[in-house]
């Protein structure tokens, strides 16, 4: 069947006078398929389905719920089941916390961007700088990717487009680049340093040590893991390992302007407990939004 998943589950229960636990289980099978197709991690799907089942068996069979104002309302079982799934998914992806940690205005706040190769870090550094400028801050970018051909050029071009200074010094290792970047920021009266780092595998020991060294050197107030929304089951391995090694403060999910369902959003939150801060919605510098669970929940459920 083409319309599998959420819609099928809803249709199965719609218009039914009563709902049995068997029907709930059948619907949950559809939901499971839908979530796996949405790239939610295998174990996370298991957990989610178990949670929904618990709630649904208890509540859906009654088909009378207490609404937000405390009144008892009759609802169709299908609609109530849908509501439980949606609410549970939103709850798992929340609570919403899109704030960045800032030092007092006369000090330099640090934001370090990390992630797998090609996830969108450099582009997102430009977007964050754009946003911070609008908020009256004065960012300085540190080009600490010393490996990728023309990575420094890329950040310099973006810095120029956005109107912020970019610091780089050839032949200097990333931890020292970060340290010098802070000094440069102070000298120029900038109050935020955003560090662009090279893409790396979470299993690359040497490069993970480099991140630890950068963090030890400048102790950034925010360490953000940039994740491609199209990522599959690897989201959990990657997020867990980055968090374990260098402690992530939050995530940025990029390339949501495509049609990837974005199940990674649920997986990485579930596995690390850290919040999704921002969403990348395109290649230009104004395409960064604050995370909101409701839109993403609907997209993941399908």
């Amino acid at each position: 069947t083409v319309t599998k998943g959420f819609r099928a589950a809803k249709n199965r229960l719609a218009g039914k006078a009563e709902i049995t636990p068997e029907m709930v289980d059948e619907s949950l099978r559809d939901i499971r398929v839908s979530l796996l197709e949405a790239d939610v991690a295998f174990d996370v799907v298991k957990k989610f389905v178990a949670r929904v089942r618990e709630k649904a068996i208890g509540e859906v069979v009654q088909t009378t719920i207490t609404d937000k104002s405390g009144r008892k309302v009759k609802v169709s079982p299908g609609d109530h089941f849908v509501k439980i799934c949606h609410d549970e998914l939103e709850a798992l992806m929340g609570p919403v916390d899109t704030r960045l940690a800032f030092k007092p205005k006369n000090q330099v706040t640090g934001i370090m961007m990390v992630g797998l190769q090609g996830s969108g870090k450099t582009t997102t550094v430009g977007k964050l700088a754009t946003k911070l400028l609008k908020e009256g801050r004065r960012p300085l970018l540190v080009a600490a990717d010393i490996y990728r051909p023309a990575a420094v050029d890329q950040l310099k071009v973006l810095g120029q487009r956005v109107g912020v200074p970019v610091f780089h010094e050839p032949g200097v290792a990333p931890p020292d680049l970060a340290k010098k970047g802070y000094a440069q920021a102070r000298a120029q009266g900038c109050d935020v340093v955003i560090i662009d780092t090279a893409g790396r595998l979470a299993i690359d020991e040497e490069l993970m040590q480099e991140l630890e060294a950068i963090k030890k050197e400048v102790q950034p107030d925010n360490t953000l893991l940039v994740v491609d929304a199209m990522i599959g089951q690897d989201s959990v391995r990657t997020a867990a390992e980055f968090d374990r090694r260098i402690s992530i403060d939050g995530f940025i999910l990029t390339k949501l302007d495509g049609d990837a369902r974005g199940g990674a959003a649920l997986s990485i939150k579930e596995v690390t407990g850290k919040p999704i801060k921002f969403l990348g919605m395109g290649e230009s510098m104004d395409r960064l939004e604050e995370f909101r669970p409701d839109g993403l929940a609907g997209r993941i459920l399908g």
Partner: protein, 278 residues
């Protein structure tokens, strides 16, 4: 899997988990598990090890597709157009392919067809140097068609063996960008009859089910002839190519296993499948 365990539902559940976590996709994984369950019912399958063998053979069968020419056969020059979503590894893969060709003594021309992204041309320029290939570039924000036309013309004049055209990353949901890609393909065909002889879709091994949709859309737009699967040196298994092979019959020809110029291998079905089960 305990190798001599009976093929019961718990073994099948383990198989299902292995397949899913490799991004094989719900439909393909379900049909593979069903196959194992059927064989077990008919007593054609006794042990977990036997099951593993069956599934491995079946996946190998799916991905072991015939490969027509790669990097040669068209023209000369043989023209390769490289496409794919943002950040998949196109530019890096082109550098690696160019190096392979120049090491064989072939003359290679690279077209900097990404005229959009910041420092895209500079990035390919470094790779052209590393690979000892010649680069044809255009102004930033310029028409990519003009750049690839220029490169094709130059290749003919200089009797180059291969032209590889880089294109900007794009999401398959952006219709105007897919139209632009079709236009680049047409331009190549005008410059050299029959070009592009190869359309290489670069797929990131960390991608989930959306990669199948990517393949469908790029195939529909420009006719993909082969896939380069990148970043297989990570923890992701790249299982999505099984669904792509099954549905679209497009072969994986190249595998990227790192960021250095030598980190490119020919796709080996046996190696790929055995890594899935590690």
């Amino acid at each position: 899997f305990g190798s001599s365990r009976d093929v019961d539902e718990s073994v099948l559940a383990e198989l299902e988990e292995t397949l899913f976590t490799a991004d094989i996709g719900v439909r393909t994984a379900a049909s593979l598990v069903d196959l194992a369950r059927e064989k077990a019912k008919k007593n054609e399958l006794r042990t977990a090890d036997g099951m593993k063998q069956l599934i491995r053979r079946e996946i190998e069968r799916i991905v072991d597709l015939p490969v027509t020419n790669t990097l040669e056969g068209g023209g000369p020059p043989h023209v390769v157009m490289v496409v794919g979503v943002n950040g998949a590894g196109k530019t890096t893969t082109i550098g690696k392919l160019a190096a392979k060709l120049t090491a064989q003594g072939k003359k290679v021309i690279l077209a900097a067809g990404d005229t959009f992204r910041a420092a895209a041309t500079e990035q390919l320029d470094v790779w052209a140097d590393r690979a000892h290939a010649e680069l044809v570039k255009g102004p930033e924000g310029g028409d990519p068609g003009a750049v690839v036309f220029e490169a094709a013309k130059k290749a003919k004049e200089q009797n180059a063996a291969v032209v590889i055209a880089d294109t900007a990353g794009r999401l398959h949901t952006r219709a105007p960008l897919m139209e632009e890609l079709k236009k680049v393909k047409r331009v190549l065909g005008k410059a050299i009859p029959g070009a592009p002889h190869e359309v290489l879709l670069v797929v990131d091994a960390t991608m989930g089910q959306n990669a199948i949709q990517q393949a469908r859309q790029f195939h529909e737009a420009v006719g993909v002839t082969a896939i380069a699967l990148t970043k297989l040196d990570g923890t992701a298994k790249g299982g999505v190519i099984i669904g792509i092979a099954d549905e679209l019959k497009i072969p994986v020809v190249w595998v990227g296993v790192g960021e250095a110029v030598e980190d490119l291998r020919r796709f080996d079905p046996k190696e790929f499948v055995s890594a899935l089960f590690d």
